[in-house]
Amino acid sequence: MATFLGINLFGLFGQLLVGLINGSFYALLSLGLAIIFGLLKIINFAQGAMYMLGAFAAWLALQYLGINYWAALIVVPLAVGAIGILMERYLLRPIANEDHLYSLLLTFGVALILQGLFTHMFGSSGMPYNIPEELKGGSRLPFMYLPNYRAWIIIASLVVCVSTWYMIEKTKLGAYLRAGTENPQLMQAFGINVPLIVTLTFGFGVGLAGFAGVMAAPVYSVSPEMGSNMLIVVFAIVVIGGMGSIGGAILTGLGMGVVEGLTKYFYPEASTTIIFLVMVIVLLTKPAGLFGKEA
């Protein structure tokens, strides 16, 4: 067994890999939350439910429609995004002018309904989803065994995160989005359809959660509770990073995944609480968050 300074490298790298994978999901989910927050100024409590919905949709599509993983990776985020668009248009927009508290409570209600619905239909035990044929197997690296699917998760989510960042920071469409974040009234005065942008943004943010759900289906078991547990951790990550920057959301997500992985190796008892503890430290030292702007 390879050891270095008394550290079992196989174990350490193994946990680092798990951390990076969790971090990929944290990054995708907090990215979606940050994009939605930018324009709508609300936190989508249903983001976890949408992630769960994405995983279930992939499972159902394979089970009953014969839609394979690769097709699901395209179709499911679109479908989940469409549900998000309907939710924004018919539930959130009517109360957009009320206190943001109400929108928050509404998304929480939607999360309860979705989770309840799936628990009722499928029970709370997990459903297995097989890794696609093309990504089975793995490669042997100096200190660890790297399964192909796990490498794929990290690469694919990085690609999606970076393209989203590029789209928002560097393209014309992204410029609309940033302008809408700064001053929606002025943008409306320039003749840009702000409500449409808001709706599409919400759909996109929710679609990212759906995408994360499909990616997660083969590694975590597909269960109704997979979203809510994940979401609370993601909330802590959002507080740690602050929602000021898109890049910050991605980096904090990945970084916290790694921190969690390292904790699992060095002090497993604290692995479930470490991210919350980091949040406490950040609140004490830099309340606006690592990448947040002072309000």
């Binding site: 943001h100 409570l105 951790v233 909330f235 802590a236 949040m279 406490v280 609140l283």
Partner: protein
């Protein structure tokens, strides 16, 4: 004057209720009503949405349950200890949470509550997944046997009245006026020289203490302290009770708690038991879309319009 009449009606109703309804059901309503009143002090009167209030309910419950099971302390001392522990946790969590506002406040409180959830899951004294079962109710002041449901009921009712009185006393005190000023216009309160975060923190501690008292009492009633009481579902439930009853109203949380507990009891007996979370979610959505003032709020509006 109006309030005094309503208070007298509430006391009479509470004293007579066990003649008509099952006392354990009533005690459950009273515990949750106290929990919701404590929560409403923050949401309705300071405008702070805590999404992790279950942690205080659960902490009170665990401490009381542990003391009653392992020591010979009397129930009133155990409840006091549970309340104080919840207040202490509230003092720490409040300090952290008031550093952020609005949506962040909700996320911070939720995350902090989840932190304690995992601590209680692993801590040796909580019984983990099983919780603390068969907690003895003990004898109040050493001579009133609380295993009798009627004795227990009137004890719970007294605790509830004390908590309810304290919340009202807080709201109508000069301190409460400042809280309302913070809710209405925080920058203005700051410009008037009030240290807003200290006021928010004080309100948070009072609210946490009363939530802990509700949890301690609930543990004695059901002789059980479990992870359910610390779970985020429970935090969501108290939000729903307050919203449904009418946030920012005096009697709203009581009406809301009675409604939600009533609905749950009704559903869990029948075939619809499986739908309980879906129905709770639907009530949330309907309340937010069409019914933001809650039952008591709408009732007040109706009174104003017609009389």
């Amino acid at each position: 004057m109006q309030l005094n009449k309503s208070m007298i009606a509430l006391v009479v109703l509470g004293l007579l209720a066990p003649l008509a309804l099952y006392p354990v059901f009533l005690m459950k309503v009273l515990c949750f009503a106290l929990f919701a009143c404590a929560f409403n002090l923050l949401l309705g009167f300071v405008g702070l949405l805590s999404f992790g209030h279950a942690v205080f309910l659960g902490t009170g419950g665990y401490i009381t349950g542990y003391l009653m099971s392992t020591t010979g302390l009397t129930p009133e001392i155990s409840i006091l200890a549970g309340t104080l522990c919840a207040a202490a946790l509230g003092a720490v969590y409040g300090k952290l949470a008031v550093k952020r506002e609005g949506i962040y406040f909700a996320m911070v409180t939720l995350a902090l509550a989840q932190l304690m959830f995992f601590v209680y899951l692993q801590a040796p004294f909580t019984g983990g997944e099983d919780g603390l079962q068969g907690v003895p109710r003990g004898e109040l002041f050493g001579f009133i046997d609380l295993s009798d449901n009627m004795n227990m009921y009137y004890f719970v009712f007294a605790i509830f009245l004390f908590g309810f009185w304290l919340v009202n006393r807080t709201i109508h005190s000069p301190f409460g006026q400042i809280l309302k000023a913070i809710r209405e216009n925080e920058p203005r309160a700051i410009s008037l020289g009030y240290n807003v975060n200290d006021y928010k923190w004080a309100a948070f501690v009072i609210s946490a203490a009363l939530a802990g008292m509700a949890g301690s009492t609930k543990t004695l009633v059901f002789q059980l302290a479990s992870l359910n009481d610390v779970h985020w579902h429970m935090s969501g439930e108290v939000v729903l009770m307050t919203l449904l009853g009418g946030m920012g109203t005096i009697f709203g949380p009581i009406v809301g708690a009675a409604s939600v507990v009533g609905i749950q009891n009704y559903l869990s007996g029948g075939e619809l038991g499986n739908y309980i979370h879906i129905i709770m979610g639907l009530i949330f959505v309907v309340c937010v879309l069409a019914f933001r003032n809650g039952i008591v709020g709408e009732f007040h509006k109706l009174l104003k319009k017609n009389f």
